[in-house]
């Protein structure tokens, strides 16, 4: 509706907006450009760095898979079924965004720690959460599942319920309708949820550091190097992980867009 050639308001607003864009872009660019390619390559050859990055990616991927299996049905219910307490469930899904990360770590430690019931139960099958990969996974799962569930829910909501109704009249059971109609049509929302959750998992530090300082994920490694050796030693690792995050984020976003067009 607004005319194509920019009005004074648009110009004025664009200046304000640019400050914010600049505030995001500059620190990242500054970090990326401060380390030479040679230094980055050397950093990547460091076993500690490489292992930590692989551990981060893998843990976040596993957390995302768990959320996919458990969260997809929940997202569908929230989008489609009217039930008492739906607003409460939606609020609960948002809570992990609000809880301070270190407090979330404490809370998870109390439930999954060595002396807790669940911790003891899992140790019977050889799974330990403290200072181990399963701890990293549940910390990532806790802080990032909101992103997946909300995005998948919005994806399902955008599917016209009449399409599901018509499929029923054409002989599909509710379970078939879910896979034939709802899932493929909500796919863009689901995919964007997967991307956001996985990326958010990568970025977690506070909750993970309380459950598992070791084995070290990349954000913990950055922190440790910064505390022990200072900015100059932390920077190459930070640069590397920023570059990888951006690369993955941009790739997935482009894939997600192509998928739709």
């Amino acid at each position: 509706m607004i005319k194509k050639h920019p009005s004074k308001l648009t110009f004025f607003f664009a200046i304000f907006g640019s400050v914010l864009i600049f505030f995001i872009v500059w620190p990242l660019l500054r970090t990326i450009t401060s380390s030479s390619p040679t230094l980055l390559w050397e950093t990547l050859l460091d076993d500690d760095v490489r292992n930590s990055i692989l551990l981060t990616f893998l843990s976040s991927a596993i957390a995302t898979s768990i959320a996919f299996i458990l969260g997809l049905p929940l997202a569908y219910l929230l989008a489609r079924v009217e039930f008492r307490g739906r607003a409460l469930v939606e609020a609960i899904i948002d809570i992990p965004i609000v809880v301070p990360h270190s407090a979330a770590g404490i809370a998870l430690l109390m439930v999954f720690g060595r002396r807790s019931i669940l911790g003891k139960l899992f140790s019977l099958v050889g799974i330990s959460f403290v200072s181990a990969m399963p701890g990293i996974i549940i910390a990532m799962l806790f802080v990032s599942l909101s992103f997946f569930v909300n995005s998948a829910r919005d994806g399902f909501k955008a599917v016209n319920p009449r399409l599901e109704g018509v499929a029923r009249t054409l002989g599909s059971t509710p379970w078939e309708v879910f896979w034939q109609i709802s899932f493929p049509l909500a796919w863009r929302g689901i995919l964007s949820g997967i991307v956001m959750m996985w990326a958010r998992g990568l970025s977690e530090f506070g909750a993970v550091v309380i459950l598992a300082y070791h084995p070290m994920i990349a954000p913990v490694l950055i922190y440790e190097r910064f505390e022990s050796f200072g900015l100059n030693y932390a920077r190459p690792v930070a640069t590397l992980i920023i570059l990888i995050s951006l690369f993955v984020f941009i790739t997935l976003r482009l894939v997600g867009r192509r998928n739709h067009a």
Partner: protein
């Protein structure tokens, strides 16, 4: 109806939000083209959705061919449904849309449990389904669209695809929810004829919902008038048009001259006299108590001279408005009451452009209007 009706609704009641149905009873015979006619918001879509099982009525029963289906899930009812917006699956081609329901029938138990793996394609069955898709596409003249996606179709094409998708599973009953209202007015007529042709060709029992009276008259074997969750009248188009059961229906089907009267007396030749502000109008009716009566605007004849024919009702009046409505012209004529203190009575008369020219009518002209006793509908 002596035979078991194809569809029977028995005392259906349904409440949803502000809206409710009360005690809906309806029977539709096999092969019939049945039209549900009512204004927007009269709950027509909701009633269709409860027939098809997408909404469950709180009370009452739904029978198809005498079998109680009230609690059967939608996928087992074999009732085809075409929504107003056609609800084509946007991620499937026209071909895949049409084959959708047909494929469901051939799926094994394990395929139904794991619908996300398309395992074990069966080439024989695929060929069979492809042939059926082709056949129904030919009937609906959409063979050329097979590989296209719904987003690239026109309204009329979408409608044909939605019809094909519903018809391919050979349902017991086909429900159409305002199938023409999403189309441009200039294309509506063609698709209306198309619906008639398909009905004649397939003999499919059809329930068609609309708010457009002309559409209902043109297509329906029978019409049910629905308003505020109640069925007010069921009958042939002629019935509803000529003998509306209430003032609401009369207005809705476009009758303009609706009056209230006391029935004064019977005459020797079996007609009755109705009093209207001092005018005496001759009508044929068995009613004896005060009632409404109406005269359709196109049933009134205008003439410069007083007609000396067998027509019983003839009055003189003055033209007050002439409204051009395209095909017809609506003229308001005020007939003075014989009792001086009463206000004049406005009659609305519909004539063609040709008649207007021939009679050379102008505002304030005095003119004679006449109508037969049989044109007066008392209710």
């Amino acid at each position: 109806m002596l035979k078991t009706p194809r569809l029977k609704l028995e005392k259906i009641a349904l409440r949803l939000g502000d809206f409710q149905f009360k005690n809906i009873n309806l029977e539709v015979a096999a092969g019939e083209y049945f039209v549900l006619l009512g204004p927007t918001g009269s709950g027509k879509t909701l009633l269709l959705e409860s027939m098809v099982g997408l909404k469950t009525p709180q009370e009452g029963k739904i029978f198809v061919d005498g079998q109680d289906m009230t609690h059967l899930p939608s996928e087992k009812r074999k009732i085809g449904f075409v929504y107003q917006d056609y609800a084509l699956f946007p991620h499937l081609t026209v071909e895949e849309n049409i084959a959708f329901g047909r494929k469901n029938r051939h799926r094994s138990r394990i395929q139904r449990l794991l619908p996300f793996f398309n395992i074990l394609p069966d080439l024989d069955k695929d060929a069979l389904i492809a042939a059926e898709v082709k056949k129904i596409s030919r009937l609906l003249k959409i063979e050329a669209l097979a590989k296209r996606y719904p987003a690239n179709l026109s309204g009329g094409e979408k409608q044909r695809v939605a019809l094909a998708r519903a018809l391919i599973v050979n349902p017991n009953l086909l429900l159409l929810d305002e199938p023409l209202s999403a189309l441009d007015p200039e294309r509506r007529e063609g698709l209306q004829n198309e619906l008639r042709r398909i009905h004649q060709k397939t003999g499919m029992t059809t329930i068609h919902v609309t708010h457009d009276f002309e559409e209902a008259v043109a297509l329906g074997d029978r019409i049910a008038i629905i308003h505020q969750g109640e069925i007010l009248q069921v009958g042939s188009p002629e019935d509803v048009f000529r003998r509306p059961a209430s003032k609401f229906i009369a207005r809705f089907v476009g009758v303009r001259n609706i009056f209230q009267t006391e029935i004064i007396k019977s005459t020797s030749n079996g007609t009755k006299l109705l009093a209207l502000n001092g005018l005496m109008i001759t009508a044929l009716t068995s009613l004896t108590k005060p009632a409404h009566f109406s005269i359709r605007p196109e049933d009134i004849i205008l003439s410069r001279e007083k007609l000396t024919s067998s027509i019983r009702n003839s009055f003189q009046g003055k033209i007050t408005t002439i409204a051009n409505r395209g095909t017809l012209i609506y003229i308001t004529i005020e007939v003075s009451s014989s009792q001086k203190q009463k206000p004049p009575i406005p009659f609305i008369v519909a004539i063609t452009h040709r008649s207007l020219e021939e009679l050379d009518l102008r505002i304030n002209d005095e003119i004679n209007l006449s109508f037969k006793a049989s044109a007066v509908h008392v209710f």
